[in-house]
């Protein structure tokens, strides 16, 4: 498989990159040009919930685990195992953070205590792309909890969307993975799975919710939302990702939120 990957991100207005709480992962190995030449490619995008503390830490932890776990995208059992692996190190991460704050003379304040006790929350979508085997079409499998999304575009049409397929489904209350754990039975009810084929020439757009909602809304109104995204970072691009997102926010077309896009072009 030869795939070209590009990652774009822009924080919420008024926030710095340090405060950005989305996270993304592309692997296992990509070169400096974003090219992947392996049998398998894994991608994960997570979106830390605004109303939780250390949400960016949790989102980064999730994509790291889901990006490296071998079976996370194959079945609910694999998802649950990857989630448990991410969550089991959370207390230690919080302790390290708390100690680091103490060390530099900025101890945890009263207004941070409830949030740290409650834990962090994030959505995630993760996908694994596999090369063709024994004459069969190459495939991708994906898992998700929440409203981070994958869109597959083939021959100028939207070939697949996952896990949300309707722009009206986005809200401030998506299903979220909690760093403090959740019962397996409850978690399993919210895990979404997807398997599909891919071909050379296909493009994938893996996004957090603000961009995903925009994408579906434009598509539902008869537009081709992949066009401006396809051109990003190319000679055809008029605007950088940051400028383009800023423009959409100005037009009221896109929510002002941390925004992440991983674009994958299958070559």
């Amino acid at each position: 498989m030869l795939a070209l990957t590009s990652t774009f991100l822009v924080p919420k207005r008024g926030s710095s990159l340090k405060e950005y709480e989305d996270a993304s992962w592309v692997g296992p190995e990509i070169n400096a040009n974003g090219e992947v030449q392996q049998d398998t490619l894994r991608v994960a995008v997570a979106d830390g919930a605004s109303e939780s503390l250390l949400a960016g830490h949790w989102a980064r932890r999730l994509v790291r685990v889901f990006g490296t776990a071998k079976n996370a995208t194959h079945a609910k059992r694999g998802f649950v195992a990857a989630y448990r692996e991410a969550a089991c190190g959370w207390d230690e991460e919080v302790s390290t953070y708390t100690a680091e704050r103490e060390e530099r003379g900025s101890p945890i304040q009263w207004y941070e205590e409830p949030g740290l006790a409650k834990g962090a929350y994030a959505t995630i979508v993760a996908a694994e792309f596999s090369d063709s085997r024994q004459g069969q079409s190459p495939t991708w499998r994906a898992v998700g909890v929440g409203d981070s999304c994958i869109f597959q575009v083939r021959d100028e049409s939207l070939y697949a969307r996952f896990p949300i397929d309707d722009s009206a489904a986005f809200s401030y209350q998506p299903p979220l993975l909690a760093s403090r754990g959740v019962e397996d039975a409850v978690l399993r009810r919210h895990i979404r799975l997807k398997a599909n084929d891919w071909e050379r020439g296909d493009s994938f757009y893996v996004t957090t919710d603000a961009l995903a909602a925009w994408f579906l809304r434009i598509f539902e109104s008869g537009g081709r939302p992949w066009e401006p995204l396809r051109d990003l970072d190319t000679r055809d691009a008029d605007l950088s990702f940051e400028e383009w997102v800023d423009q959409q926010r100005d037009f009221g077309e896109m929510h002002d939120d941390d925004t992440t896009l991983v674009r994958i072009d299958m070559c």
């Binding site: 919420k12 207005r13 008024g14 926030s15 405060e19 979106d47 919930a49 605004s50 109303e51 939780s52 503390l53 250390l54 949400a55 953070y97 704050r101 900025s106 304040q109 009263w110 207004y111 941070e112 205590e113 409830p114 949030g115 409650k118 962090a120 929350y121 959505t123 909890v145 401030y172 209350q173 998506p174 299903p175 979220l176 993975l177 909690a178 959740v182 409850v186 978690l187 009810r189 919210h190 919710d209 929510h255 002002d256 939120d257």
Partner: protein, 277 residues
């Protein structure tokens, strides 16, 4: 309307009007034996605490809101205590770092085994109970107009300011209907200012949260405050419903002898942190 995003780049204001009149010395009618002045001061401190925690991130509180607390009783004016005394409008991050006092209180918390256990929690105090003088509610609403119009002048595209009046409703400077109406007419491009009322009463009547009619309200003060209150915007009505309130198009931002801390959760600042169910 009521769809503007609340962010640091586009913050909004939260104005609290706190009844500090002599009638607030009387006990609330719920049988708890607490003075109305204690109830409203406690409610306001809890509202500020909830708002602060909602906007807390690592190493600071984000200024999604600017807060004004106007007391009315013997005088009408800023009512925050401690180092914030005398201030008309304060960034939420300053509210967070400058409570007049930080008390430790005991709270029943789940012990993880189906029972409850006492746990010490920090309880910040920004205002203390005061009960003195008349109830110049009309004057307070006029003062709120001044704060809100100044805010809207600088933030014309903000989510509309929210004004929350905590009172026993016994206005002594005339009918508050007209100043309340004038306040509700002040608008950003996203909609008119929201005026909500928390009524503490000495009447021993059942607590009522977010009613859609004044029929069940026990006295004229409650009915007046209900009629001064804005109807809840759609998304707030949905949140009220999620919290177990029966709602309709006429549901208003009004509670009678009930907790109104939930109003903080009616405000969207981004993805909410909640467990899977």
């Amino acid at each position: 309307m009521y769809s503007a995003e609340i962010s640091r780049a586009n913050p909004t204001s939260f104005v609290f009007l706190l009844d500090q009149s002599a009638s607030m010395q009387d006990q609330i009618g719920s049988g708890e034996g607490r003075r109305k002045s204690d109830v409203v001061a406690d409610a306001l401190n809890r509202l500020l605490q909830e708002l602060t925690i909602k906007c807390a991130k690592e190493e600071g509180v984000r200024d999604y809101f600017y807060v004004s607390v106007i007391g009315y009783g013997a005088t009408v004016g800023p009512a925050l205590g401690g180092s914030l005394a005398g201030r008309d409008l304060v960034a939420l991050s300053e509210i967070a770092t400058s409570p007049a006092k930080l008390e430790t209180r005991s709270k029943k918390m789940p012990d993880g085994a189906g029972g409850l256990v006492d746990q010490e929690i920090k309880f910040p105090i920004w205002v203390n109970p005061v009960a003195n003088g008349g109830t110049p509610m009309s004057n307070a609403l006029t003062r709120a107009q001044s704060v809100v119009s100044g805010w809207l002048n600088d933030h014309p595209a903000c989510f509309p300011p929210v004004v929350l009046n905590l009172t026993d409703g016994e206005s002594t400077d005339g009918d508050p209907t007209n100043p309340a109406e004038a306040l509700r007419q002040l608008a950003s491009v996203d909609g008119p200012t929201l005026l909500f009322n928390l009524h503490v009463s000495s009447d021993a009547a059942p607590a009522i949260s977010f009613p859609d009619s004044d029929v069940a309200l026990p006295n004229q003060y409650a009915r007046t405050l209900f009629n001064l209150s804005s109807t809840l915007p759609d998304h707030m009505r949905t949140y009220a419903q999620q919290q177990g309130c029966a709602v309709s198009d006429g549901t208003r931002g009004f509670v009678f002898n009930a907790d109104m801390t939930s109003i903080v959760q009616f405000l969207d600042i981004g993805t909410r942190a909640s467990d899977l169910r």
